[in-house]
């Protein structure tokens, strides 16, 4: 073996040892972290969320340690490094190895080969490798051994945390409270397609009706008996005893249809668990075709039926339901049938069918009622049945033809005034554009249509102006057919406005010197009015091109009026004289203009619940478990009355049970209990307080 081959072999050995040591150190670090977490968890329960992070932290720490050691071992990545490592330990080589692995002298200096052959450095390498690996191996072994010595449940809680592993910390024994730690496993009904769920120490269990619920705990002081019902001695309660296998007890229940409290008892120990049934909603069905009720003249032809349906857990089947009612007065007969039955396998679905009216044999006067009916897959407490709106098709009698006919209605009043000046301008421009393509008669005809609308808009503007000027709107009607400046010109109108405003001429506040603010505000509208007058005149004689400038001017004036400065007059505030005696409640009551109504009496049930809450609060310091039970029973009562308060109380109870600071949660719960505002069912009339 040449010197170069020997050095290369040493390099590989050292490199493998470095990798091995880095891996072992990483593993040791991970094991140490897991050991630390498992030990802490054995004394103080670490929350499941935190435990889920521990394995990730351990893996990350192992990778970091490995990477650092790997980087530090990089010095022996080539033969020269290995040669130097050997030379450092064998100075007698006098750099013979370094020279031997140098490509420039490789095989050219026999003396070097000879000198290197005299030194046995392999045993030193073996010793160094052993020394490098011993520490990490011992570390891994020690940590692994300690982990093995811990109870298997404790390690599993850290390595593979899962919901329902609360019992793995508990120890069985005759003096142990078997209700101290419980795990509830919920198996929803098969139709729901939901996964099983495990809950650690829950205060309440929410699941679908019919879900099988298994309560599990560690065997201890006495047999566990469950009593279903809010009051312990209530008749009809269901008592269930636990079954003990090994060091665990099990108790099987079924989620009832109504919220129920389960009181668990074992010797002198007691614990409350709320069973809260989750609703399985009925399918939601929407009949899309036919879209509306109709009256048909003849019972012939085909009608398309369509509907959509959805459900929270799954649809089972659906069909269209038809009911035909025949007869009149007090003699009616009914017959029903279904159509387009379909089976579903999902949460949403569609129904479609075609109804042949001929096949039903409808007679004049008959009514056909249509709806879609869908059932869900609930085979425990259901099935839930969802129905769509009902559409009614009536076959008209021969003597009621008129009632079937629908006369076109005039457009609504609001739409009559929809045409704005801008629209009129656009219409006039469009008409002017096609002027060369149409006959003169048609031009005049269309132009007059626009003129009518222009006149109508002018009258509306005139109404505004005259109302502002203090005239009756009826007077505008006389002036509507007259141009205001001819013979009643704009200046005369402004002067009239001036007089009406009782403002002396020449006392201008803004604008032109001879204008009062009233005139200044109305001037744009007057300009628009006059421009509209001119425009409608041109339009009347079929000259839209000549009308357009006036229409533009009117539009600009209207815009100016819109953006005109608004003046808000501020009057002198009346001096307020404070009635000191009244403020100090020492004066006489002088009566009130508004009606006084007595306050509604307080809700006695709510007061009672608040009293129960306060009583539970009083127990918090002395017997927290009793306080939690009281809160849970209160929550049970609130589930169908005040869901918000029930949620708040559950949060508070959970916080109390887990030993956390429940102050804020209790405050929120108290607030939710006490301060639910009651809204009147409808708005009341002005002046009569509810």
């Amino acid at each position: 073996m040449t010197t170069l081959e020997r050095v290369e072999r040493v390099r590989r050995t050292l490199r493998s040892a470095a990798i091995g040591a880095a891996v072992l150190r990483g593993v040791a670090t991970a094991l140490a972290l897991l050991l630390l977490a498992a030990t802490v968890d054995a004394f103080v329960a670490i929350p499941a969320g935190a435990r889920r992070i521990v394995p990730l932290l351990a893996a990350a720490a192992a990778i970091v340690v490995f990477a650092r050691r790997w980087r530090r071992s990089g010095v022996r990545s080539d033969a020269a490094s290995a040669a130097l490592w050997i030379e450092a330990r064998f100075p007698s080589l006098r750099y013979a190895l370094v020279t031997a692995v140098d490509p420039r002298y490789e095989g050219r200096v026999p003396e070097i080969e000879h000198a290197a052959a005299q030194v046995e450095f392999e045993p030193a390498v073996t010793k160094a490798v052993r020394r490098a690996l011993t520490g990490p191996v011992v570390g891994v072994a020690v940590f692994a051994l300690l982990l093995l010595l811990l109870p298997s449940g404790a390690v599993a809680r850290v390595i593979a945390p899962a919901a329902g592993d609360a019992l793995s910390r508990a120890r069985a024994g005759s003096r142990v409270n078997p209700l101290a730690a419980i795990v509830v496993r919920v198996s929803p009904p098969a139709y729901a397609g939901l996964r099983d769920e495990s809950l650690d120490n829950p205060a309440s269990v929410r699941a679908l009706v019919g879900s099988s619920i298994t309560i599990e705990g560690v065997a201890g002081d006495g047999q566990v008996v469950a009593t279903q019902g809010t009051e312990a001695a209530a008749p009809g309660d269901v008592h269930t005893s636990s079954v003990t296998s090994g060091d665990r007890w099990h108790l099987a229940l079924v989620m009832p249809a109504t919220p129920t409290a389960v009181r668990l008892r074992a010797a002198s120990h007691e614990r409350l668990l709320l069973l809260e049934p989750a609703p399985d909603s009925a399918p939601v069905v929407l009949l899309t075709l036919p879209a509306r009720d109709s009256i048909l003249r003849t019972a012939a032809g085909q009608i398309r039926l369509a509907a959509t349906a959805s459900d929270d857990y799954g649809l089972a089947s659906g069909a269209f339901e038809l009911i035909v009612s025949s007869g009149s007065g007090e003699n009616f007969t009914f017959k029903s049938r279904t159509l387009g039955a379909v089976t579903f396998r999902s949460r949403t679905g569609e129904l479609a069918a075609t109804l042949s009216l001929d096949s039903i044999g409808l007679q004049p006067g008959d009514m056909l009622h249509l709806r879609a009916v869908v059932r869900d897959r609930n085979n425990v407490s259901g099935p839930g049945v969802g129905t769509s709106d009902t559409r009614t098709l009536r076959i008209a009698r021969s003597d009621e033809y008129d009632s079937v006919a629908v006369d076109p209605a005039p457009p609504p009043e609001a739409e009559k005034n929809a045409l704005s000046q801008r629209m009129l301008l656009m219409m006039a421009q469009a008409l002017e554009k096609k002027r060369t393509k149409i006959s003169r008669a048609q031009l005049v005809s269309e132009s007059r249509v626009i003129a009518v609308d222009q006149t109508r808009l002018r009258k509306r503007v005139g109404e505004i102006v005259f109302t502002r000027l203090g005239e009756n709107s009826g007077e505008e009607g006389d002036a509507a057919d007259k141009r205001l400046d001819q013979p009643v010109n704009a200046d005369s109108v402004l002067a009239a406005a001036d007089r009406l405003a009782n403002a002396p001429a020449g006392t201008a506040l803004e604008g032109n010197e001879d204008e009062t603010p009233l005139i200044a505000t109305n001037r744009p509208l007057l300009e628009a009015y006059n421009a509209m007058w001119s425009a409608s005149g041109e339009l009347e004689v079929g000259e839209p091109g000549k009308a357009i400038p006036f229409m533009k001017k009117a539009l600009d004036a209207l815009q100016a009026a819109r953006s005109a400065e608004q003046i808000f007059l501020r009057g002198k505030t009346r001096a307020v004289v404070v009635d000191i005696d009244r403020v100090r409640l020492q004066g006489k009551d002088k009566g009130s203009a508004s009606a006084r109504t007595p306050r509604r009496p307080a809700d006695p049930a709510r007061d009672q619940r608040i009293a129960r809450f306060d009583a539970a609060l009083a127990l918090v310091r002395t017997t927290p478990s009793a306080a939690v039970d009281s809160l849970l029973l209160l929550r049970l009562d609130l589930l169908d009355r005040d869901a918000g308060a029930a949620r708040a109380i559950e949060t508070a109870a959970n916080a109390l049970r887990s030993g956390q600071d429940a102050t804020n949660a209790l405050i929120r719960a108290r607030r939710a209990l006490a301060a639910v505002p009651s809204a009147p069912s409808a708005l009341t009339a002005w002046g009569s307080p509810p």
């Binding site: 307020v576 404070v578 403020v583 100090r584």
Partner: protein, 203 residues
């Protein structure tokens, strides 16, 4: 003992009467919370008048620039020296506004420079207790004016007594409503005004 009379200062420049309902509102609060004998209406006194010296507390507000005449300046200085307290409120709530700039300048010329009043000052516990200093106004919280919530009031001191209390918080808007409408508030926002009055009478 004569009644306490709320005094609003009238100055030649600006809109001194921009908050006409504040006096009645504070008079109502004084009657409501304290046993101080208070006149049912306030008075308006020119800043340049020696009538001002009859009133221990004077209220000055406005939106527009403030320019005191020499007489007004001299009178205000004497008023403060005699133990009076001037409460100035910027109705604009804007430290970059014209009222603030001009009023601060005039006060500085007439009485002395304004300094931040510590939030532990006796003013804040003269009647009601305000642990966090001057109460914020809705105008501050709505981001109007300078968009600032002013943490401190400013003051010109005469010894350990406040001679001029200056607010950029726009209490004039906050308190500018008819006292009969106070019943619609869940928390009466004029309580700090009571503190100002009580401090002026006892400080």
């Amino acid at each position: 003992m004569s009644d306490f009379i709320f005094c609003t200062v009238q100055y030649d420049s600006g809109d001194w009467d921009s908050a006409p309902l504040v006096p009645a509102n504070l008079i109502d609060s004084i009657a409501r919370y304290t046993s101080i004998s208070v006149a049912p209406t306030g008075v308006t006194v020119p800043l340049g008048s020696t009538e001002l010296f009859k009133y221990p507390l004077a209220y000055l507000t406005g939106h527009l620039p403030v320019r005191f005449s020499e007489l007004e300046r001299r009178n205000l200085r004497e008023y403060c020296d005699r133990g009076g307290m001037l409460f100035v409120d910027d109705h604009n709530h804007d430290i970059d506004g014209v009222f603030h700039k001009s009023a601060v300048e005039e006060i500085t010329r007439a009485v002395g420079s304004l300094k931040e009043l510590p939030n532990t000052h006796a003013l804040y516990s003269a009647f009601f207790k305000f642990d966090d200093g001057p109460p914020a106004t809705t105008h501050e919280l709505n981001g109007w004016g300078d968009n600032l919530v002013h943490k401190h009031l400013l003051a010109v001191m005469r010894g350990d007594r406040i001679a001029v209390l200056y607010s950029s918080k726009d209490y004039s808007s906050e308190w500018g409503y008819h006292p009969d409408n106070k019943r619609f508030l869940s928390v009466d926002n004029t309580k700090f005004g009571v503190n100002i009055v009580v401090y002026a009478l006892t400080g």
